[in-house]
Structures are given as structure tokens and as C-alpha cells.
Symmetry: C2
Subunit: 414 residues, 2 copies
Amino acid sequence: MDKLATAAAALDAADELAPLRARFHLPEGVTYLDGNSLGAMPVAAPQHMADAVTRAWGERLIASWMDDGWWQMPVTLGDRLAPVIGAGPGQTVVADGTSVSIFKAVHAGLSLKPERTVIVSERASFPTDLYIVEGLIASSGRKLQLRLAGDAGAGLDAALGDDVAVVLLSHVDYRTGELLDMEAITRKVQAAGAIMVWDLCHSAGVVPMELDAWNVDFAMGCTYKYLNGGPGGQSFFYAARRHHETARQPLTGWWGHAEPFAFETGYEPAHSMRRFLTGSQAILGLKAVECGIAAMEGVSIAAVRTKSLSLTGFFMDCVEELCGGHGLSIVTPRERMRRGSQVAIGFEHGYAVVQAMIENGVVGDFRAPDIMRFGFAPLYLSHADVLRAAQVMRDCLEAQVWTDPRYQVRGEVT
Amino acid sequence: MDKLATAAAALDAADELAPLRARFHLPEGVTYLDGNSLGAMPVAAPQHMADAVTRAWGERLIASWMDDGWWQMPVTLGDRLAPVIGAGPGQTVVADGTSVSIFKAVHAGLSLKPERTVIVSERASFPTDLYIVEGLIASSGRKLQLRLAGDAGAGLDAALGDDVAVVLLSHVDYRTGELLDMEAITRKVQAAGAIMVWDLCHSAGVVPMELDAWNVDFAMGCTYKYLNGGPGGQSFFYAARRHHETARQPLTGWWGHAEPFAFETGYEPAHSMRRFLTGSQAILGLKAVECGIAAMEGVSIAAVRTKSLSLTGFFMDCVEELCGGHGLSIVTPRERMRRGSQVAIGFEHGYAVVQAMIENGVVGDFRAPDIMRFGFAPLYLSHADVLRAAQVMRDCLEAQVWTDPRYQVRGEVT
């Protein structure tokens, strides 16, 4: 056994989270490093979904809205998820898509700073964040402005000013995997009198965070990545309790009404987290999210973080050891405090390499122009998986797979 | 056999849609008259959902976004649904909740009439329609105004004027079941220079309509009522092709971008129906919608309408025959052109009667202050079901169930 294999075996032997692997189904023979895009299926999902379909919908029909808790699911799921993001109860809901939640959060922030006109974000944001802000501004009837700071928090000081209402940042960069200091940035933004909105899509479930303790205003994120909530599952949305009576958002559907079953003509927002809800949710989507949340319950996020850093660190070691000399550049920061749970590697022929790796059972993904992206979900990956991925990458590099026509036609996945 | 039983048997014997009952699962011993709230489960749903969960998510993971058509589902489902609403291809999507779609549609209408400031709707609208308009106005930064016309189209002439940008009306009233004349009202609204938006929640799947031929601008509706798409399933959204290059809506997420996988910083709306999309959808919700749409494919909406009118008409006959003398008032119009597929009955003790009927296997629902609501889904109901419902109602009235404490505590369902 070579040095890396010995190291992998030792790390796996000491892995206290290894038993969690049994909570997930993974395809035979596949090393799945795309859990940062779509998380693996919890083994409980098929039965849980079959029950929701056959019994709750098929047999109980309309009665399930109350008897099966459908009506309350955005709130009950939010409360079950809350410990993962460091939130007390009553401040998190699961509802609507991430883009819709971003729209609500930025509006809510603006409603608290009516005299300010600037929304700060970063060029490196996942594009939907910027697109949503753009659409919000165009429809606002106000002279609002999107100000793009330098990436990775670097330009934030220069961007802040007494005209800034809301700062919207990604906790972990979707391409580079760089992690921002949530506590320090939130403090800085609020010291400048602005509202802090965090996009947690690439950190929730793998990076410890304390939304309450760090005084975050609003946050939202995907449930279908590291939270394993099923394809396209509804987003989560956090609003600090201090904003529940004052913040407003424009998607004022009946689920956010103070008395939704009074069927009144005028809207009165609920005096709780429910004011951030809009309307009926695809319950079967929420049922899948429930499986993902259940699969994490009782798991220490600190332990997840320790393993995440071990997996990503070991991957970078393996890549350096096995794949040197091919012109790769590791884009993700080496510093533990500055990376999330993915490793991004820049390479001219990255698209072809990722495709060839998939053909050989190692699933990562690619982001233009040249980023190979590998996500490490600590709940179901081992260091042996990591080593195998690096070995397959090495084989693809040595075979110069980019000269193979099969790997030159571009398609894209989400 | 008495007269009504004879009539029911004759009507059922002549029912050409009777074989469709086999496409749906209904609980044993239940007469389900709440399909206007949550449609019955198609028998194909458990297998279809299990495949989506176990194979597409569990085994194929991220590859299913393209290989299994997830990415295209809003568009492909929209096109499959389009014949039900009289729409040609490329003008309908299935995505987001109904309230979100209303927000998009009203905004899209306003974007086409920037110099006009009034949105007309009716007090009798399902409240979320009015709430969403209220939230839209409050967030618009403009002096927009919601003008409530008299109900059932009566006050429309007085409400229209050259300040009206958008008219938002429900095709079928959610309480009374009254049906509006879509073609005539659309013509009248457009003659006044306004944009017509139809809420089809209570008509899609049971009332024939020709959105293209009648020149409707925008429309949206639920998939979980008469379209049997599962609890809270995503809404459908229609935009006439002539608006695809010009209308804007503010929920400009990446799924509506002209090149979603280019990950550009700036937003450019797709030059197609996709510009009305926002972001990732709960795929398992869409998979259930797919079951509902599939269960209707090949079914003539004209035949559905004929049976719907027969069921609702026969129900009113039975109620008059069996339940006279108890002070009920049938609120739904008797005229065939003026009713949808539900029958609303006003009764002082309606809440208790509906609860007692449910206890006795006939599921309807109740809307404050005094409306008993019974929906008739022609795909899975028979005239024998209708007669049974009226008989159970009669029994409940004769037993004066409102004197029973069990039926006096109010709870509500959606």
C-alpha cells in the first residue's frame, strides 16, 4: 500500500462520522463529488415519499392539510433545520425557490432602510443573486442601484457607505469554494448601518454558523445540496426575530396573512415568521426536504466541519502528489478558515477531464471558463473516495483525454 | 328504485367518461366532492413517483437534470397542459406557486402599460389575488391603485377607464362557483386598452376555454384541483406569444435568462416563454403534476364539460328534491353558462352539516360565513355519487347535526 492509501485508511479508521454513510443511497461504483450540486438520496426517502403519495394524498386527501401537517410544513421543517444554521425556533421557514427567497430577503432589507438606495453584492455571486437584484431594482420604481464590490469580501470596505441599504453575499463562493467570515462581515456591514443578507446555498450543512449569535438579519439557501433535500427542493429562509414586526416583502400571498382562513379582502402580515410565506407549497417537494433534514438530525456540525476540512485537505494533497506537472491550479484557498467543502481546480482542459472522470465513475462538475469543481459531502464520503477521485483524475490527465473527441462537445448541468 | 335513483342509473349508463374513473384512486367508501380543492391521486402516481425518487434522484443523481428532462419540465409540462386551456405550444409553463405566478402576471401586464396606474379586480376574488396585488403596489414605488369592481363581472363597465392597466379576474368564483364569460370580458377589457389576466384555479380542467382564440394576455392557475397534480403542486402560467419579447416580470432568476449556463453577470430575459421562469423547481412536485396531466391526456374537455354540467345539475335537482324545507339556498347559478363545476349552498348551520357529512363519508368543504361547497370532478365521479351525497345531506339536516357539540368547533382546511 502506498503512502496515500495508508493515509486514507488511517483517516477513515478514525472517522467518527463514517456510520452516517448508511443513511444514504449511492449508486454502485460511483464516487459522487457533486453533493454540492445535488445531494445524495437518504435511504429513508423512498418509503417516506411513498407514504406521502399513497396514504396522505391518495387515501387521506384534503384531510392531510391538517392531519398530516402539510399546512405547517414550512414552519416545522424550518424549525427542524434551524440548529444546522445556528438559529433558534420560529425564525426559519422552508418554502419557494431560492431565487424567490432572495427576492423576499432583499426586499425585506430595503423595507427596513427606506432612505437608503444601494444594494451591495459581488460579481462572483451565483448569477441568480445578481439577476434577482436587477429585476427587483427595475420593478421598484425607485432609483435603487446595485454596487458590485471586489470579490471574496475584498472590496467591501470601499463599497460600504451611508447610502447602502442591503449587502447580499454568498457565504461560500459557488465556483472557487472560498469561505467568507460571516461574523466579521456581518458586524462590519451593520456598523455601516446596512442590513446583512447571506446566501447560504454552498455552506448550509457543512460549515458551522451561528445566525442568531452573529446577529445576521436575513439568510436563505438551497436544501438540495449538502442538506440532501431532493432535486430542486424548496429553499430555506431565515429572518431574525427582531424584524418580524417591521420587515415587509411584496409576495404577500395568503400563507403570510395574519389570519389566512378568515379570507379577508385586505392583507395583514402575520406577526411572526409566517409573514415571509407566500402561498401553497408543492408538498411532495417538502416531503423530500424532510428526508434530508431527518438524515442530519443529531449530527454535530462541528464534527461535519472537521471531516469536511479533512476530506478537502486530503484531496488537495492527493492532487498535488498525483497530478503535479500537468498545469493544474488549485483555486480554493488552502487556509482552513477560508474554504468551504468543495475544491475548485483551474485547468485549460477542465471540461474534458471532468467528462472523462464521470465516464470513469467519479462525478464532479465544471463551471466556465475552466473550473473543475469537486464537492465533498462529509455525511457519505470517505478518504478512500477522495483518493480514488485523485487517481482517476491523474489517469485522465496522463491519457490526455482532451484529445478524445468524445469529451469535446459541451453540455451543461446545473 | 325511486325516481332519483333511476335517473342516476340512466345518466351513469350513458356516461362515456365513466371508464376514466379507473385512472384514479379514491378511498374506499368515500364520496369525494372536494376535487375542487385537492384532486384525487392518479393510480399511476405511486409508481411514477417511486421511479423519480429511487432511480432518477437516487441512482442517476445530477445527470437527471438533463437525461431525465428535469431542466425542461416547466416547459414540457406546460406544453402538455396547453390543450386543456386552448393554448398552442410554447406559451405555458408549470412553475412556482399560484400566488407567485399572479405576481408575475400582474407585473407583466403593468410592464406593457407603463402609463396606466390602475389594477382592477373583484372583492370576491380568492383573497391571495388581492393580497398579491396589494403587496405589488406597496413595493412598486409608483402610485398604483387597486380598484375593486362589483362581483361577477357586474361592475366591470364602471371600473374600466383609460387609467386601467390590468384586469385580474377569476374565471370561476371560488365560493359561489359562478362562471364568467371569458371571451366577452377579455374583449371588453382589451377594448378599454387594458391587459387581461385570468385566474383559472377553479376552471382549468373542467371548463372549456380558448386562451389563444380569445386573445387572452396572461393566465395562471392551480394544478392540484381539477388537474389532479398533487398537494400544493406548482401552478401553470400562460403568456400569449405576442408578449414574449416585451413583457417583463421582476422575479428574474437564472431560469429565465436567455443563456442560463453562460453564468453572465447581467440579466437578459429569454426570448421565449422561459422569461417568465425564475429558478429551480421542486422536481418531485412537478413529477406529481405530470401524473395529473397524463391522467387527462386524450380526454375531450367538451365531454368533461357536458358531464360536469350533468353532475352539478343533477346535484341541484337532488338537493331540491331531498333537502327542501330546511332553509338551504343554492348560491350557484342554475344557468349552464354561468356555473363552473361546483355547487355552493348557503346554510346557517353549513359548517356543522359539512363536518357531519364528512363523518358519513361525503367530503365537501366550507367557506365562511355560511357556504357549503361541493366540487364535482367529472373524471372520477358518477351520478350515483351525487345522489348519495344529497341523501347524506338530507340525513344530516333531518338529524339537525348542528345541535351535536362534535360539529360545533371550527377548524379549517384549505
